[in-house]
Amino acid sequence: MSEENAKLTSSLLYLDNVQVTFDGYRALRGLSLALAPGEMRAIIGPNGAGKTTMMDVITGKTRPDVGDVYFEGRHDLTRMDEAEIATLGVGRKFQKPTVFENHSVNDNILLAARAPRTVRATLAAKGSAEITQNITRILERIRLTDMRERQAGSLSHGQKQWLEIGMLLAQDPKLLLVDEPVAGMTDSETAATATMLKEIAKEHSVVVVEHDMAFVRDLDVKVTVLHEGAVLAEGTLDQVSADERVVEVYLGR
């Protein structure tokens, strides 16, 4: 019991026995996971393993039927909604690039940047040199400096993914959840994205869900394998790929 408590308080994100059922389908069946502060973790698993549902639970989109979800050892995420959880410092990148297509690249970052979010504050908000510089810095990191005034909708798929990463940087969350960041990217874009994420991981805790094994190898971090809504294996990529059960799940019987 005390060991469990220590694990809870020392971890940034703590999931214990989380269960979610949709219309009789058990998407998560007792998922437990602990993420240390500053850690970067890759989550892999076949389709339907519960990766996206896990993200939904952490960000408040889906409420678990059973189980605990704690952030920083004290915030019970199962009792909060999306906006509250985001304000605590949990950022999320979607599988499909989700940027505000009708806004410029600049305004996308501006909306994401840390600032009061109330109606009154946004009505009165004025630009400042500090904000402009912050956006400039972020655009450099995501390689979109020349695209600043372009409409986000006119960016290429890969650039949209980067813009979304930039928005998360601007949001400056303590924990970043990234859902399949390199899906649909070219090899060079994939490599650039890996560099970007590794750089981000220096200052933030990151959870990456990914199918692309080469990309996961590139990241070179601890890997958690999900299967049928629970953790199947955990360790380095080499360790888990040596695990017979993992091979079985991925290759089928």
Binding site: E82, A83, A86, G91, E101, T122, L123, A125
Partner: protein, 369 residues
Amino acid sequence: MSRQLDFAGWIFVAVMALAAVLVPLATLGTPDGAALHVPTYLVQLFGKYLCYAILAVALDLVWGYCGILSLGHGAFFALGGYAMGMYLMRQIGTRGVYANPVLPDFMVFLNWHSLPVAWWGFNWFAYAMLMMVLVPGLLALAFGWFAFRSRVTGVYLSIITQAMTFALYKEFFRNDFGFGGNNGLTDFKDILGFSLQSDAVKAGLFSISAVALIASYLISRAIVRSKYGKALIAVRDSESRMRFLGYRVENIKLFAFVVSAIMAAVGGALYVPQVGIINPSEFAPGNSIEVAIWVAVGGRGTLVGAAIGAIAVNFAKTYFTGALPEYWLFALGLLFVCVTLFFPLGIMGVLSRIRFRRKRSEVATGTAT
């Protein structure tokens, strides 16, 4: 598009400001039959269009910029109108058919002996003005609070806004509800002591409507250009992304919805003294749908387009209902279908395309010479 739109906006403001000054001069300062004389009936007619334009700008603020297709904005317009109508009724005093100093005619007719509480204070213009803002504003606040918190969006939201206006429509029809029932409120005599029949007052109401339209446009413009306005558009385009960024989406929507409802109510309040009557038909679900058509025709999400659309469609309506009354609804339906299919950006979209083409041909000739 945005710089062009801003340019169109300033032209529109200038035209409205000129109209506010020149129309009274042209109608009062010139004799009947003079070349520049504007007949009073036209002043009234266009004054009415301006009130519709205010309503259209209000709807565009929530529909064009936040994706909230309210098909109940006619209700806010009508509530503002009723508040003004109640003030005007109380001003009739002993000049009514039954010459009751306190009770409006319809109450005497219904054998009522005392003024219902809802009517108290409406003899004061300031109180009536307060109610004209407060009642629609609070209704929008309550309605929006429940709807946006429960995350009702899209067509479902449109349907419940229709239900809201339909419920009010039914309620206002009842004599017992105390607002004149089926006949509504009419036979107004004067406003702030000035006779509503005089040409000067009609011209004055026109000018005030033009100024109110300019104000609605400028307020909406300031809202959509602020960071809040960017958030509003972002909510329209990707609501869940905004939630995950930590924005309280329901509050963002609620603010725009309440501002919009109040704006619509001001339009309604200015409308009533100019048309001389307010009755439950203003709550009819079809009216609110028509407002959405004006906005679509003018160009959704442009503000100026909404105002132009309202004026243009209503001008066409006046013409059609006079010339070919039985075909108006078909024409309106056809217009809506054509605009949606061929001109999704409405009149403003067509205008910007023409300007863009001209610019391109200028560039082409420039390189040729």
